[in-house]
């Protein structure tokens, strides 16, 4: 069911990770993603996995909840893996008809799997532990310097936070319209591509109409509450670095240094 998608959701809990400044978490996520692509040793991946596990523990988000978020993307994951397994050139280890599996293919497939899973869990952990508002506040603050070159930073972050708030509502709405049309005999599952695409019209038209109606309502409600852009606005929760944020930056730096060192150690050892 569409409601099972947990990516992008917030998981309320009282944890150290939840309390961190969103900028730390944003930078942390970016550094982690870079690290995942820099690593070229299994021991490096082990370190990255352990680091992630530690953060999950600290965040108090149940592992089950995180894993459930992976479910909807298993198909994409498998596709990428099979693609890499089959189409990587190198030393063949297995051959059957047109299918050739190479040593490099296997290696790439494994590292790709580790990378993708860690990447998805890592970035979804950020959204689990950061309220969308906090997240956009963090983005707004990190992108602050771009204001000087006339990038509408506040507007972008406001749009993002509204989008995040309405995703679950629109998901539920999609579910409802789908059911309503199914009750009228619509069929969203069978048929060829063209038939399926055509079959989506009874779903998409009402969904767009509803999205526009909601957007209209929301704009009015925001204006009624005196919203007039970022200027002159104060913040209920202004971002302020505390000691633990600084410590986190330090830990992050150590982690990244560790990854780099491990890459070289690995080279020395083998």
């Amino acid at each position: 069911m569409i409601r099972d998608i947990t990516i992008g959701q917030y998981y309320p809990a009282d944890s150290l990770i939840h309390k961190l400044d969103p900028r730390v978490k944003l930078v942390g996520t970016i550094v982690y993603i870079i690290a995942l692509f820099v690593i070229d040793s299994y021991i490096g991946y082990l370190l990255a996995a352990l680091a992630l596990l530690a953060v999950i523990r600290l965040s108090k988000v149940p592992v089950k909840f995180i894993l459930r978020g992976l479910k909807p993307i298993i198909a994409i994951l498998l596709f990428t893996l099979v693609f890499n397994l089959l189409f990587t050139q190198g030393d063949p280890v297995f051959k059957a008809g047109i299918i050739t599996i190479t040593k490099q293919g296997i290696r790439l497939c494994i590292t790709m799997a580790i990378r993708l899973v860690l990447l998805i869990i890592g970035s979804s952990l950020m959204t689990f532990t950061t309220t969308p508002n906090h997240l956009t506040d963090g983005l707004e603050s990190l992108m602050g310097p771009l204001k000087k070159v006339k990038v509408p930073v506040h507007e972008i972050s406001m749009m993002m936070s509204i989008a995040l708030r309405f995703i679950p509502i629109l998901m539920e709405e999609t579910d409802k319209i789908m059911k309503a049309q199914t009750a009228r005999g619509a069929d969203f599952e069978t048929g060829g591509l063209v038939k399926k695409a055509k079959g989506l019209i009874p779903l998409l038209v009402p969904l767009f109409v509803s999205a526009f109606r909601r957007a209209n309502d929301l704009a009015m409600a925001m204006e009624a509450r005196c919203y007039r852009g970022g200027e002159g606005r104060t913040k209920m929760k202004p971002l302020k670095y505390t000691g633990r944020d600084m410590v986190s930056y330090l830990v992050l730096a150590v982690f990244f240094a560790g990854i780099i060192v491990l890459n070289h150690v690995d080279l020395l050892m083998f």
Binding site: P12, A221, R225, T234, P238
Partner: protein
């Protein structure tokens, strides 16, 4: 002093075709003169399309009159330099609870209006706490609005308005999408704010049961105010209300039917208790 005053208020929705020529004009509000006193609990009744929502949007300066004028707290809504003062002073709650909550956490949503007004951070926290307490939602401050019931969402929306410290709050069919329990929650909250915080309340609705405690009721039809008076004065006109596509509470209807059948029951009965007393008195005779 009046909280809200309108004089000769007219509003027309003008539809234009692709060439910009006027295709049709729909007069949604037609020559309305209103006077609403500070601290009052006012109800505006009317069927769908009677113009009551359009009228409400003038009080928050979302719409400005085609003709005539609206004053909110003595300020004419045409004075653009005071636009934000008017919106701060006359907060507005809308029908769909989902489409007016901006924050993803209850307390952040309640703080949204105060943030826009440039209130200092510490004071925002004080206001948010006080407003959430006033609507009885303090224990939900860290929750996601998506998980709340309809009535709770509307109370959060009301708290968001209260945090802007308005003198007046306009509620545009706040209960239309709620179940009976949610309706009760919202109406009780609003009545309490009116009593305790002395906020002027303008409640727009077509649920008759919600207006029996109002100080004054206006009935709208075809853009005009067609009836005006206390709930008792309004509800004794059962036939007239039905002509305006409205209704009366079931006890009022029963009392009216009994009167029609020749019983000496007073006009404009609003509650079960009043009717029971009237019937008991007749039985004793």
């Amino acid at each position: 002093m009046e909280m809200v005053k309108t004089e000769g208020l007219v509003f027309e929705y003008i539809r234009r075709n692709d060439e910009g020529e006027v295709e049709s004009i729909n007069r949604a509000v037609d020559n309305v003169d209103l006077r609403i006193n500070k601290g009052d609990f006012i109800a505006i009744l009317g069927h769908n399309g009677s113009g009551k929502s359009t009228l409400a949007k003038h009080i928050n300066a979302i719409l400005t009159p085609t003709e005539g004028s609206v004053w909110v707290g003595g300020i004419n809504t045409r004075e653009e330099e005071h636009l934000w003062d008017i919106r701060q002073n006359a907060g507005m709650v809308f029908q769909n609870p989902d489409n007016q909550i901006i924050g993803t956490v209850v307390e952040e949503d309640v703080g949204f209006g105060a943030e826009n007004l440039g209130v200092p951070t510490e004071e925002i926290w004080e206001r948010v706490e006080k407003s959430l307490k006033a609507v009885g939602m303090l224990e939900y401050r860290k929750h996601s609005p998506n998980k709340l019931s309809g009535g709770q969402k509307q109370r959060v929306a009301i708290a968001g308005i209260m945090a802007m410290k308005p003198q007046c709050i306009v509620l545009d069919e706040p209960t239309a999408m709620l179940d009976p329990m949610g309706r009760k929650e919202v109406i009780e909250t609003v009545m309490e704010l009116n009593k305790k915080e002395k906020v002027t309340v303008i409640l727009i609705t077509h649920y008759m049961e919600e207006v029996i405690n109002a100080d004054k009721v206006f009935v709208m039809d075809k853009g005009k105010v067609v009836m005006e008076g206390t709930p008792r004065e309004i509800f004794k006109e059962v036939e007239q209300l039905k002509r305006y596509r409205l209704d009366v509470p079931q006890v009022t209807e029963l009392s009216y039917e009994l009167r029609k059948s020749g019983l000496k029951i007073p006009e404009g009965i609003l509650t079960v208790d009043e009717l029971v007393k009237a019937v008991c008195a007749l039985k004793k005779e």
